[in-house]
C-alpha cells in the first residue's frame, strides 16, 4: 500500500540532491572565472584594485544567484520528500 508513496518520496529526495548538485556547478565555474580574472587584473594593475573589486563583487553576486535558486528549489523538493 505504501510502496508508491515511498518511491515518490525517494524520487523527490533524489531530485533535490540532483538540483543542488548540478545547480552549483555553473555558479562555481562562474565565480572561479571571475575571481581568476580579478586576480589577473590586480596583478597587472595594482592601482585598479578599488574599481575592479566593486565589479568583481557584482559579478560574484550575479553568479551566486544561480546556486541560491538551486538551493531554494532543493529545499522545496526536500520538504516534499519528507511529507
Amino acid at each position: 500500500m505504501s510502496e508508491p508513496n515511498v518511491m515518490i518520496s525517494a524520487a523527490y529526495a533524489i531530485g533535490a540532491g540532483l538540483t543542488i548538485g548540478l545547480g552549483v556547478i555553473g555558479s562555481g565555474v562562474g565565480i572561479g572565472v571571475a575571481a581568476g580574472k580579478f586576480i589577473e587584473a590586480i596583478a597587472r594593475q595594482p592601482e585598479s584594485m578599488k574599481t575592479t573589486r566593486t565589479w568583481f563583487l557584482v559579478a560574484y553576486a550575479l553568479c551566486e544567484t544561480q546556486a541560491l535558486f538551486a538551493f531554494l528549489f532543493a529545499i522545496m523538493l526536500f520538504q516534499k520528500a519528507g511529507s
Partner: protein, 232 residues
C-alpha cells in the same frame, strides 16, 4: 529535525503577536530589536557629537565616508542625494544579519518577507527616480537601440528588469537562511566548538559580503536609472 523557529521559541519566552504564528512573531520581534539597535546607537552617537571623534563616533564616521566614496565612485556626485537610502539599506541588512548570531534568535533577513520588502523598496525607488528624472524618455531604454528589434528587446528587458528585485530578495534570504540551517545542522552533530567555527566563517565572510552586495547593487541600479539617457 525540528523547525528552527520552534527550537528558538522554546529558549525564549515567546511573545505571541496577535494574528501571527510563533515564528512570524519571532521575526517581527527581532526586526524591532535590529531597529532599536540602529536607532539607539545613532541617537546616542549624534547626541554626544564631538569635534574630536572617539569610540563609536569613529565607526559611524568611517562607515559614512566609506559609503559616500562608493556612491561617488559608482553614480558620480549626482548620486549623493540618495545616500540616506543606501545607508539605511546597509545598516538594516547588516544589523539584521548579525542579530541572528545572538543565542536563540533568528535573523530578520533570513525571512523572505523581510528581504522581499527591502527589494521592493529599492526597486520602486530606483524606477521612480528614473521616471522623475527622465520623464517618459526613461522607458526608451527598454526598447533597445535598433527599432526593428524593439518588440523582442522590450520583452527581454522587462523580464530582466523584473528579475532584479526577485534575485535581490532571494540572494540575501537564501544566504542567511542557508547559514542558519547549517548552524542548526552542526548543533545536532555536536554542541560545542563546531557550530562556532561555522558561525565565525558565516559572520565574517557571508554576512559582511551579502550586506555589502545588497547596498552595492542598490547603488548600481540607482546609477543605471540616473544615467539612463547618457547612452542614447
Amino acid at each position: 529535525m525540528a523547525n528552527p523557529a520552534e527550537h528558538t521559541a522554546s529558549l525564549l519566552p515567546a511573545i505571541h503577536l496577535p494574528g501571527l504564528t510563533t515564528d512570524q512573531s519571532l521575526v517581527v520581534e527581532f526586526t524591532w530589536l535590529a531597529m532599536i539597535l540602529i536607532i539607539g546607537t545613532l541617537v546616542f552617537v549624534i547626541s554626544n557629537w564631538k569635534k574630536v571623534p572617539g569610540g563609536l563616533q569613529n565607526i559611524v564616521e568611517l562607515l559614512t565616508s566609506f559609503i559616500e566614496d562608493y556612491i561617488v565612485d559608482i553614480m558620480g556626485p549626482k548620486g549623493l542625494p540618495y545616500f540616506p537610502l543606501v545607508m539605511t539599506v546597509l545598516l538594516f541588512v547588516g544589523v539584521g544579519n548579525y542579530v541572528g548570531l545572538l543565542p536563540g534568535s533568528v535573523s530578520p533577513t533570513g525571512n523572505l518577507s523581510t528581504t522581499a520588502a527591502w527589494a521592493l523598496i529599492v526597486f520602486v525607488f530606483y524606477e521612480s527616480v528614473g521616471v522623475l528624472r527622465h520623464g517618459i524618455k526613461y522607458f526608451k531604454h527598454f526598447f533597445g537601440p535598433i527599432p526593428i528589434m524593439a518588440p523582442m528587446m522590450f520583452v527581454m528587458e522587462i523580464i530582466s528588469e523584473l528579475a532584479r528585485p526577485f534575485s535581490l530578495a532571494v540572494r540575501l534570504f537564501a544566504n542567511i537562511m542557508g547559514g542558519e540551517m547549517i548552524i542548526k545542522l552542526l548543533f545536532s552533530f555536536c554542541v560545542i566548538g563546531l557550530p562556532v567555527v561555522w558561525m565565525l566563517w558565516d559572520s565574517t565572510i557571508t554576512m559582511l559580503i551579502q550586506t555589502f552586495i545588497f547596498s552595492l547593487l542598490t547603488m548600481v541600479y540607482l546609477g543605471g536609472a540616473l544615467a539612463a539617457d547618457d547612452e542614447h
